[in-house]
Symmetry: C2
Subunit: 293 residues, 2 copies
Amino acid sequence: MPTPPPFDLDLLRTLVTIVDCGGFTRAAERLGRTQSTISLQIKRLEDGLGNRVFEREGRGFALTPHGEILLAYSRRMLLMADEACARLMEPDVDGRVRLGTPEDFASVHLPDVLWRFSRAHPRVALEVNCDFTVNLLDGFSKGEYDLVLCKREPQGGGSGIKVWREPLVWAASERLVLDPLEPISLVLAPYPDIYRKRAIDALDGCGRPWRIAYTSPSVAGIQAAVRAGLGTTILPKEMVGGGFHIVGAEFGLPDLADTEIALYRAPGPLPKAAERLAEHIVRSLESERAGGG
Amino acid sequence: MPTPPPFDLDLLRTLVTIVDCGGFTRAAERLGRTQSTISLQIKRLEDGLGNRVFEREGRGFALTPHGEILLAYSRRMLLMADEACARLMEPDVDGRVRLGTPEDFASVHLPDVLWRFSRAHPRVALEVNCDFTVNLLDGFSKGEYDLVLCKREPQGGGSGIKVWREPLVWAASERLVLDPLEPISLVLAPYPDIYRKRAIDALDGCGRPWRIAYTSPSVAGIQAAVRAGLGTTILPKEMVGGGFHIVGAEFGLPDLADTEIALYRAPGPLPKAAERLAEHIVRSLESERAGGG
DNA sequence: CGCCATCCATTGAAATTCTCAATGGATGGC
DNA sequence: GCCATCCATTGAGAATTTCAATGGATGGCG
């Protein structure tokens, strides 16, 4: 960040207005400024940029390539400013939002997201329910949720919005001795869990024998068991940490496909509060991902 | 537009920096200002907004709901400003882009979009080819296009990005006398055309007899024939005009499903110029739609 | 061919805005 | 109870921004 972008929204608005009005003078009238001010504002914009924005041709003018690019961004930024303004003016959203989510994802990625949401919309009552994907989808089809975050196969598709994707890896404690020739001890969530199925299918697929050493429906329980050296589990890469390490082909473990989390919204028009939460989740996770990667 | 949003990007950057640094003083250091300046900037922001942004709690502070909302928008706007800045700094994109598109869509919606693109990127050579959807998809699968705009069924799906959707209507000249009991005279594009199939299927579906009165592959040809009163055609609603009028159930004509245009990009990494054009098309059409509706 | 209307650029002064340094008030740790 | 830290406020000075007036250039029109 050597040169913080020196954009001034007023100048950008002037640029857009000039283009829309087709002239400096008319833009001045619409903006309630004098024409000389408009000229100077464009000059300021160009000086700050180091490039011309308009190509002057005697009486008329045309946008330069830089001007055209800047114009496109200006429109978007001004639209966003207008939207922000409208959002700030309108009354607080209230109501209730019922969100279903996998527990492991929620405990790692959602606390901050939901905390920010609840601060932005203190009158919205959040009802978050953690469960297995199968149960979430079941409840979703019965109308028990406004929004559901679900694990799904990485090829995506369907009506949901992809909000997260990351590699799935085998993880074990350092104190666990792994022997590629022995059946592998697994620490997994109980039956309807998607990762459980993934792990077992992958092992069966490559002919590696296995046994279930420990079963727990909660992230904390699984982590405790793995940390105790009771076996190997399967985790999103981001969740590996604290004494765990990633194990793989060197111990005869197969590669795993990525995991993907998608957001599904209940059919029909959603209450405004749920709409807001959906947008908030999508945006927060996409920027978290951009910032983290 | 009674109150143009009085946002100042510098103030928003200050807001974001305060939150990220966790304090006014640290934010001042990072921004190269004094702490009093930061305080005043926030005060200015709050005065302009008419609401507090921070809730002061003695030594510390917390974001108000308004502050939280504004923070989210501020981040997005600053990211956009940074992106604009980066885009303006980087050298001109050059190369060639091969775009396939239906002729009717191109002649109505693309001229301005492509003109702006070519002004923003004068060193990019645009090669636009108009053809029927079937031929476009055929050429696309042979690698003849970087990007293709295609008509498709409105339920969407697949890998393309929806860029346009509008109702399809029957249109005729005022001078054409329509009799619900007579076979309807059609003015259509020749065989592989999608709308031709739509029209005939719809009429067959409701048992209405028809005959082809005029065939032309070009929009101009079809418009001339319809204007001459030679028959009825099928058009996107937006393209009705100039002596045409919409006809429908009152003459025994069936309703038509919407038409949808999607953008497909060639598999694999696209040249930068094509990437830019794709982004430009999507953005331009989405704002045109927002502005027009 | 020359006049006029229109449009953008420039100039210098006035007003507004912004920043800074210093100081004050409040809070929490030790 | 003292000290360190943090944000708020104040008044002066500096920088920026706006305005009114003027200048230069172009194209239309008789």
